[in-house]
């Protein structure tokens, strides 16, 4: 395997892993598959540019220097997710998981249409951090600087999240709540605090995905959240619903297999890359329907 391919696989898989984590975090604590996560990503993408229905995008927030822009975007994503929790999911707190899921679909459609009204339906060219496209020599391979930054950022986020979950009070409460929410509450763990924490983290991760998508593709499209949401959702299923490490592993795996297929398939089979990829997903689920890493909370308790 060439070094170039290794970096491609890691960067793509890393983004899938971050998106999958955004879904797994919320599923873990409240058994909600948040299908609006893709629209959280799309909203964060469009937050970078000024509202207008013109074909040319004018940078708004995106004009800020990166050191300011990144925290502002994280805050935007977290704020949007918290708002969605307070307005949509909190009133539905005691509803069945199916009703919650339908609610998240409704929220997603509403957000997508809000973007259509504000920005129009045509994809727009956005130039964010164009200078990061320069290739850098890494051993025998030439890798875009952006790819290295994405890989470093993904690793830093995964590490930071792991430390937060293992070492902090809110992390402990989130892990306990993911296993048995009702029991955690009987030990004084505040349901609102844990759920808000999960939504804020999830929204922040959506903003990270948005930044990377825009920087990599240079496009803002109302529909762009849907595709990555699909992959991220599949990753959480393959990883085992509710298992954070499973979501990360499956996200990385899907990204890696996708990059490998892209490079390894004969040219005439390449348009069917996704068919091969999802065929593999079906095979995995045939043999392990509970996912690769079934979480402790989903096991039957004796």
């Amino acid at each position: 395997m060439s070094l170039q391919l290794f970096f491609d696989a890691l960067a793509l898989g890393g983004i899938y892993a971050i998106a999958a984590l955004g879904i797994a975090l919320i599923f873990g604590v409240m058994k909600l598959v948040n299908f609006a996560h893709g629209q959280f990503i799309a909203c964060a993408v469009f937050a970078l540019i000024l509202p207008s229905t013109d074909a040319m995008a004018v940078l708004g927030l995106g004009r800020l220097p990166a050191l300011v822009l990144v925290p502002v975007m994280l805050a935007f994503g977290a704020g949007l997710a918290l708002l969605a929790e307070a307005l949509v999911f909190r009133p539905m707190r005691n509803a069945s998981p199916v009703a919650l899921m339908v609610g998240s679909f409704a929220l997603g459609v509403a957000l997508q249409n809000l973007l259509l009204v504000l920005y129009g339906g045509r994809p727009k060219a956005v130039s964010l951090w164009a200078e990061l496209g320069h290739p850098v020599q890494v051993g025998p391979a030439e890798v875009p600087l952006l790819q290295l930054i994405v890989i470093a950022a993904v690793l830093a986020i995964l590490l930071g999240l792991a430390v937060m979950l293992r070492r902090t009070r809110i992390g402990l409460e989130m892990r306990a709540a993911a296993e048995d929410f009702a029991m955690a509450r009987m030990l004084g763990v505040r349901a609102n605090r844990v759920i808000s924490g999960a939504f804020a983290l999830s929204g922040g991760l959506a903003a990270v995905v948005a930044l990377v998508l825009v920087a990599q593709t240079g496009v803002a499209d109302v529909r762009m959240g849907g595709q990555i949401m699909l992959v991220a959702f599949i990753a959480t299923v393959v990883g085992g619903m509710g298992s954070l490490s499973g979501a990360v592993a499956a996200g990385l795996g899907i990204g890696a297999v996708s990059a490998l297929l892209q490079a390894g398939l004969p040219a005439e089979a390449r348009p069917f890359r996704d068919a091969f990829l999802y065929g593999g997903v079906i095979l995995v689920l045939l043999f392990r329907p509970q996912g690769l890493f079934a979480s402790a909370g989903s096991k039957p308790r004796v």
């Binding site: 009070r169 402990l172 296993e179 009987m186 349901a191 402790a296």
Partner: protein, 239 residues
């Protein structure tokens, strides 16, 4: 004044009445056993006290504060802690993490380390396995962990649902020895669901006998084992 007062409590699941017209009071430091056949409403009563199920009717007071209507976390914060049926330990967390989950709400952070020492002294196996995943513990050890986890919240009232379920008799002896030691040490008020009236009589305390969602008898546990009331609760009054 009584520590805990339950007045005309009712719990319903849909159309099914699990608990009706339940009234009793518990004095500070008292040990109360709740016994009765399956489906008598014992676990529903504990769940209602802990706020895990909502009462359809009635009032629960602790130290004169009304608990009914509060969420489980608010009730836990007022000093009522639950050792639930089936133990419900967090299997993926370590033993020590399990013990720490309930300490987040405590104001007396300094006393948490002392309390950890107390439960480790009461159950040395938990100290030995502190860093092991709780799911790797045996059933008896998990029961000890669930009791210790409840104690770490620094409760005034502790509810224990069937601590002997699925445990070997010798382990049950040990669990009860530690429970009574800790109760004395901490001056706890304790309500224990226990199927075996012989066991309750041996440990000693008051007993409430339940049948079909109601309390049918209330008295000293030692007197119950021999009395007809027990047979009556299980098989109905002779007509």
């Amino acid at each position: 004044m009584s520590k805990l007062a339950v007045h005309d409590l009712a719990v319903r699941y849909g159309k099914l009445t699990a608990l009706a017209e339940v009234s009793f009071t518990v004095a500070e430091g008292e040990r109360v056993f709740i016994s009765g056949p399956n489906g008598a409403g014992k676990s529903s009563l504990l769940s209602a006290l802990a706020g895990a199920v909502r009462a359809a009717h009635g009032r629960i007071e602790m130290d004169g504060d009304i608990l009914s209507g509060l969420g489980p976390e608010a009730i836990a914060r007022r000093g009522l802690s639950m050792v639930p049926e089936g133990r419900r330990i967090f299997a993926g967390l370590t033993v020590q993490e399990n013990l720490m989950v309930g300490t987040g709400m405590r104001r007396d952070r300094g006393a948490v380390a002392d309390d950890l020492e107390t439960v480790f002294n009461a159950f040395p196996i938990l100290r030995e396995r502190a860093r092991a995943p709780a799911g790797a513990l045996s059933g008896g050890q998990q029961q000890m962990l669930a009791i210790s986890r409840a104690l770490m919240t620094n409760p005034k009232v502790i509810l224990v649902d069937e601590p002997s379920l699925g445990l070997a008799p010798k382990v049950v002896d040990e669990v009860y020895d530690r429970l009574t030691d800790l109760q004395t040490l901490r001056g706890l008020t304790m309500i224990i669901v226990e199927q075996s009236s012989a066991r309750a009589a041996r440990v000693g305390g008051r007993m409430l006998l339940m049948r079909s969602g109601r309390i049918v008898a209330d008295g000293d546990a030692t007197g119950f084992a021999a009395r007809d009331l027990l047979t009556e609760a299980y098989f109905g009054a002779p007509t």
